[in-house]
Amino acid sequence: MARQDRERLDLLQGTLDMLILRTLQWGPGHGHGIGQAIRAQSDDLLKVETGSLYPALHRLEKHGWLKSEWGVSEANQRARYYRLTAAGRAQLSRERDRWSQLVDAIGRIMNPAPARKE
């Protein structure tokens, strides 16, 4: 695992919330599934530690951006399923805008040639 870690990217501070919200846009999921989805979507480049993922899920729920309920997982065990709320969707679009502005700004600095629009 240590070897694999070296190839992975560290998650940028403050982006985990956005990634979780984005992942849940496709439909409800439990914690493990969300982690796996982020990993798969990023072609194994991003790996979310459970120690960060679960507190983040609860934080988002506390803000009212997620709603959770008990369901039964593929392992035939009770699992907590998270679902995006309307407020969560609005938050996602806000974070997406901020993110693209940030990328744009960093891009201008790193690459002063004609701006590259995302």
Partner: protein, 882 residues
């Protein structure tokens, strides 16, 4: 909608669900169940940490902090348990500081800050007439003056009047006794805004000469003398020659201007109904209160009353002092009541604050020394990643614990202190008697403890995260930095400086007390018993009263063990103030220059033998005799100061004098009295020795007496029961009260000075004790950290005696600097204080030098132990120490 807050079971189940999915995936990929489980757990990481992080999302932030602080406090408790000596010193020191402050503040709050019970007490004013130039600070008012105020002012909605008079009261099942009574008009209780607890108070229907006699009992009298007997209402009491019905009991309230036992209407006092009282403008005996009219301010009322008063003085020049400017003061009643106690309480508060500062700086010292010793521990914690906030919190937890314990002990200590201080303050303001132990003490204690705790937590330096900590970590040894050393010394110096101020102040009070106690009074103090034997005042030269006193003198004089007996009108010191500030008189051949007033003299009535009994020497002429009585030539005896001032040629005897004071106009035109003798000066009003113009007149020509003086051969108090019996045989209803030797009377009058000195000495003693502990602590610490230095010094040949002197001199230098700072600070403080208080005395040289000597001596003594230790350092051990 608020999301459901998950509990620990929910969180555990969520984690179990995660692991189950993770394991299933691995098994689906072909791993065997056991290793799949291990791998899943390994991937998940620390389950407990994750769960705590999830829970922390839902719990409020303050709960986390409280939990962290609780953790810190538990650690602090454990670490303090290992330093019991330090804890005890710190807690006791803080408790002394906090207790003294809490106690005095409780009294200050009650006496100076709390409103009176009177309705709308903010609108209640007290009006006073005075002539400061001749020392008459309260002239009171006459009935014509009050009537004029009533008809000519608009800013005062209503006036209330109150005069004090002594009645012999019979009834209510009590022994015949002289009660202090207030005589009031019908508006008094309404103006004062007071309510009854039982029955009713006096109203306008009780006013005037035709009303029935009615009396209200004060709450104190009702509860103490009558056991709160509810059947008292409607009972009849005899007051002198009149009777009155008890109509009610007054609610507990501040008695002002006088603490009386009953308050009666005007009809009970024949004196109040007499023509003199009603028509003579100079016959003043009434105190005046007012209630501000709606919409008027104190300033407005003051302006109007002053104008009316000035017009009054202009219109009736004969009734007012020519020389002294008659002044009118209008103050809120609350301020008037608090005024005498204000200065003394503020001074006490300042003293308590100084003790608190000393206590804090001493505790800061101890804490600083301790924190230097644990710099190693703090460095280890900093190296392990504790932020400076966390380190501060540890220190804060320790100081909160220490100060909290100090506050608890201080509050416990404050309870008896409050009783002590309020009894003391009661001499200046009656309100102090009502001081209770309430939550104020707790709040003040807690506030002070918090202040101290925060202060103390910021005293020690934290190890800098940038400084190389290696050395400290490795050796664990104490390395005292020059900065720390300087701070320790500054704290010790501060303590000495403040202690010096307190010691010098206490020394000054003690010196005053000693001066007063050893002053020559001119009286025989030990063997003379003074007894109050009052008779109702029945007018001038009342034959019945004169005969009564003649009989008392004859019978008491015949008792065994009695060397001499006399009656008079005035017990020295105890009766001070009861005759005002003296009366104007004139002597034959003396004319005051233009604009000069006639001199004022004290008037005393004495019987033959008075001077011999009290031990006052006759200087010229003769004593009064039995022949000096009504119908014979009017005679007087004067004090030496009168003879010297008004008869500079030394020929006072056989010249004449007469009372010219307007107060006596009711008795007719002044009549000359022949001076038959001159006696030595005595000071019977004030405890401070002085010489006052005094004129004595024979009891048999005036009738007024009331005080019996007995010169005893043996123990004066042994005579008291027999004297009482003898007098009751003459008149069964005669009060015989307050028997005491002149020595004890004087001690009683001096007791405020004694308590002053006692209280301040107490403060100074506490301060001295704390300062000595402080100096000893600093030096002990300094010696223990310099063991190596002393070892080297001894190794290269220093004599142990030399090291000892060095340490001793360090202590003395700290004390000397402290004293210099204290003297400079104290002097500056006195300069500032003179701006706020009328009388600020700088202590004389003796108390200052004395305080300095005591402090230097104490500092030297405190340095002895550390110095001895320095000289006994084991060279080899010291050198191997690092």
């Amino acid at each position: 909608m608020r999301p459901h807050i998950p509990d620990n079971d929910d969180l555990d189940e969520e984690i179990r669900g995660h692991l189950a999915v993770s394991i299933k995936e691995r098994i689906d990929r072909g791993e065997d169940p056991a290793s799949a489980r291990l791998a899943a757990l390994k991937e998940f990481g620390n389950v407990t940490l994750t769960r705590d992080a999830m829970r922390a999302v839902w719990s409020p932030r303050w709960l986390d902090m409280a939990e962290a602080l609780w953790q810190d406090i538990r650690v602090a408790l454990r670490s303090l348990m290992r330093a019991k000596g330090l804890v005890a010193t710190v807690v006791v020191t803080l408790a002394l500081g906090i207790g003294a402050n809490a106690a005095i503040f409780s009294v200050v709050r009650e006496v100076l800050l709390r409103p009176l019970v009177n309705r709308d007490e903010d609108r209640l004013v007290y009006i006073r007439q005075s002539v400061p130039a001749v020392g008459a600070d309260n002239l009171t008012f006459s009935v014509p003056e009050i009537d004029e105020f009533k008809s000519r002012t608009r800013t005062i909605a209503a006036f209330g009047d109150f005069s004090t008079i002594d009645f012999t009261m019979i009834g209510l099942g009590l022994d015949p006794r002289v009660v202090k009574a207030g005589v009031v008009g019908g508006s008094f209780f309404d103006v004062m805004g007071l309510r009854p607890v039982l029955g009713r108070l006096l109203t306008a229907t009780d006013d005037g000469p035709k009303a029935a006699g009615a009396a209200v009992l004060t709450y104190r009298f009702w509860t103490t003398a009558l056991n709160s007997d509810p059947t008292v209402i409607g009972k009849t009491i005899r007051l002198g020659t009149r009777t009155a019905t008890v109509v009610g009991v007054l609610e507990p309230s501040v008695p002002y201007p006088a603490a009386t036992e009953i308050i009666a209407n005007v009809v009970t006092s024949p004196h109040h109904l007499g023509a003199t009282m009603v028509t003579n403008r100079a016959h003043r005996m009434t105190e005046l209160f007012g209630r501000l009219a709606p919409g008027t301010s104190l300033e407005g009322a003051r302006a109007e009353l002053t104008t009316v008063h000035a017009a009054m003085v202009r219109a009736h020049p004969e009734a007012y002092s020519v020389k002294g400017n008659v002044q009118l003061t209008v103050t809120k009643l609350r301020d008037q009541i608090a005024a005498p106690a204000r200065t003394i309480l503020l001074v006490l508060l300042a003293a308590a604050a100084v003790v608190f500062i000393i206590a804090c700086s001493n505790v800061a010292n101890l804490i600083l020394a301790r924190s230097v010793r644990r710099e190693g521990e703090l460095a280890v914690r900093a190296a392990l990643g504790a932020g400076s906030g966390a380190l501060r919190r540890t220190l804060l937890a320790e100081s909160v614990l220490l100060c909290g314990a100090g506050a608890v002990l201080g509050v416990i200590l404050a309870q008896p202190l409050i009783a002590l201080v309020s009894r003391y303050a009661a001499r200046f303001s009656v309100r102090a008697l009502d001081v209770n132990v309430d939550t104020t003490v707790v709040w003040v204690g807690a506030g002070l403890a918090m202040a101290a705790a925060v202060l103390l937590a910021y005293v020690p330096r934290l190890p800098s995260p940038h400084a190389p900590a290696g050395l400290g970590l490795a050796s664990g040894a104490v390395r005292i930095t020059p900065g720390t050393n300087r701070r320790l010394r500054i704290f010790a110096t501060t303590q000495i400086a403040f202690s010096f101020v307190l010691l010098a102040g206490a020394g000054m009070l003690l010196a005053t007390l000693v001066t007063l106690q050893t002053a020559r009074t001119g009286f025989n103090l030990r063997q003379v018993l003074a007894v109050d034997v009052p008779t109702p005042s029945l007018g001038l030269a009342d034959a019945k009263a004169i005969n009564f006193y003649q009989e008392v003198v004859r019978r008491v004089g015949g008792m065994p063990g009695v060397d001499g007996v006399a009656v008079g009108s005035f017990t020295p010191w105890r009766d001070a103030g009861s005759f005002g500030s003296g009366f104007q008189f004139s002597v034959e051949g003396y004319r005051p220059a233009d604009g000069e007033e006639y001199p004022r003299g004290r008037m005393r009535m004495v019987s033959p033998g008075f001077f011999a009994v009290l031990g006052v020497p006759m200087i010229a002429g003769r004593d009064f005799t039995e022949a000096d009585r009504v119908g014979n030539e009017l005679v007087s005896i004067v004090s030496q100061s009168v003879a010297q001032r008004l008869f500079p040629n030394g020929d006072a005897v056989n010249r004449h004098l007469m009372w010219t004071d307007p107060v006596f106009l009711i008795y007719g035109q002044p009549v000359p009295r022949r001076i038959v003798g001159v006696v030595a000066d005595v000071e019977d009003e004030n405890v401070v020795p002085g010489s006052a113009l005094t004129i004595y007149q024979p009891v048999r020509q005036m009738g007024v007496a009331g005080r019996l003086f007995v010169h005893a051969a043996g123990d004066p108090y042994a005579l008291v029961p027999a004297i009482t019996r003898v007098i009751r045989n003459i008149s069964a209803e005669q009060p015989v009260e307050r028997a005491a030797t002149l020595e004890d009377v004087r001690a009683e009058v001096l007791s405020p000075e004694r308590v002053n000195a006692f209280v301040f000495s107490g403060f100074a003693g506490i301060a001295l004790l704390i300062a000595v502990v402080g100096v000893a602590g600093v030096l002990a610490f300094s010696v223990s950290t310099r063991t190596r230095e002393f070892g080297i010094r001894l190794a290269v040949g220093s004599a142990p005696r030399h090291l000892m002197t060095r340490v001793l001199s360090e202590g003395v230098v700290i004390a000397a600097i402290g004293i210099a700072a204290g003297a400079a600070g104290g002097f500056a403080l006195a300069r500032v204080a003179t701006r706020f208080f009328a009388t600020v005395q700088l202590p004389g040289a003796l108390p200052i030098v004395g305080a300095a000597v005591v402090l230097i001596g104490a500092a030297g003594a405190a340095s002895l132990l550390p110095a001895a230790r320095a000289s006994r350092v084991d060279v080899m051990r010291a050198l191997r120490a690092e």
